[in-house]
Amino acid sequence: MELISISNVNVRYPNGVNALHDLSVKIKRGDFVFVIGGSGSGKSTFIKMLYREIKPNKGEIILGGLNVAKLRNSKVYKLRRKLGIVFQDYRLLPKLTVYENVAFALECIGAKKTEIRVKTLKAIELVGLKSKTRVYPDQLSGGEQQRVAIARAIVNNPKLLICDEPTGNLDPDMSMEIVKLLDNINKTTGTTIIMATHDREIVNKMKKRVIVLKDGYLIKDYEKGKYYDEAD
């Protein structure tokens, strides 16, 4: 069963740059998909389009039954509640503790206090930061901060976890740990994960489905385990 169905999408920025050309792709529920490509390949545009930070000029994006391309600005929250988003720069609130940062996601959507407590602690435990709930982000390492961001992204049990270069700021060991954590989340909760990255090593090791973008075109779509380091 498909979670995401993208058909014939074109994205053109106001400055005239065509970021994506006639892109069509389907992603199944429970998949773990890497999106790779160099700078300017349209990787980030593809990711931003999924959580509707960017609207396509043409084409259709159906995500969990929502027509993302036609979603009005005031209704975007309906989409975002189905998603978890992780960024390269973590985007944590520096004045809130680890617990508060994760709970923030639930408070924003008006969850009950007891529910917030249970779910927040569960998410923090899942990313392995149980001992650091009262610590502030600037007292954590980059990898730990990214774990907090992941906990915040999954605390609401999203159907889809979107990761935009989550390992971009981390060293190789830490990167691998984060990806393994994501893989673990994918396997245990069945959350679909789409991860944009340019870290070939990770992609090689994980043996997942890989979508390759270049100059705004989808040039290759490798099935699970079929991708191996290519020079291009």
Partner: protein, 299 residues
Amino acid sequence: MKLIRMVFRGVRDAFKSVFRNFSLSIASVSCISITLVVVAVALLASFNVNNFTETIKKDVTIIVFVESKATDSDLNTIEKNIKKIGNVDSIKLKTKQQEKKELMEEDDVFKSYLGDMDDDELPLKDSFLVKVSKLEEIKDTVEKIKKIELVDTVNYGESMVQQMLNAFKVIRNGTIIIVVALIIVNIFLIVNTIKLAIFARKREISIMRLVGASNLSIKYPFVIEGMVIGMIGSIVPILITIYGYTYFYTYFDGKLFSSLIKLINPQPFVLYVSLIILGIGMVVGMIGSSRAVRKYLKV
């Protein structure tokens, strides 16, 4: 249930973030305080000017002289007829005997001259002192009084009243324009200060959007926060209004320059002005925050 929870969360967050973003709150609060002090002074002044003009308006009197041949019963009919015209606030009969007495008290020359005369010889006339309720229609009223039988002459300082009315109109419109202009300038100032304060929290807003908070639920705590800042900001102006004006009033003994210009009694006047100031502070704070946040909700 969910709605109530969101409402409480908004109020709690608003107070929290006033203290969390203390320096920015202080900036907004002082901006609001300073501008509201100016508004408060303008309000106090304009209310007083209006009060002063109203008092003067009330003092304008039409003097209706009655022909000498009028008898007591004629006087009664004239009074009734004048009352019938409408626009009459009060009417008072001043007989020539009263007039004589007053004049004699005023001046020794009159005293020696008038003192010897009998009532019939007096070169004076009975008169009515009429005060109107609507000064703007005084001309009309005077015309009607003139037509009443046995009325001799009517005097109300025609040109002076007209000039005064015009001057008061200018003053009143002037003060209203000044107060409104000040309030508008304040709104701009405050909106910009709050915009600056909220710019610093752009990240917070964008994260709220990312985790699926609806625009309304993002905006609401900020609007409450703006209201709280507006409330805090109006404390100093209110204190200045209450204590400053009361001090001013007692220092000048309730009148300015001459007993002609009476100041408004501070009680309960200062309370009304304080309420207006509080209202302006809260509303402007809310508008400021709401406008400032809107900009960041488009991502």
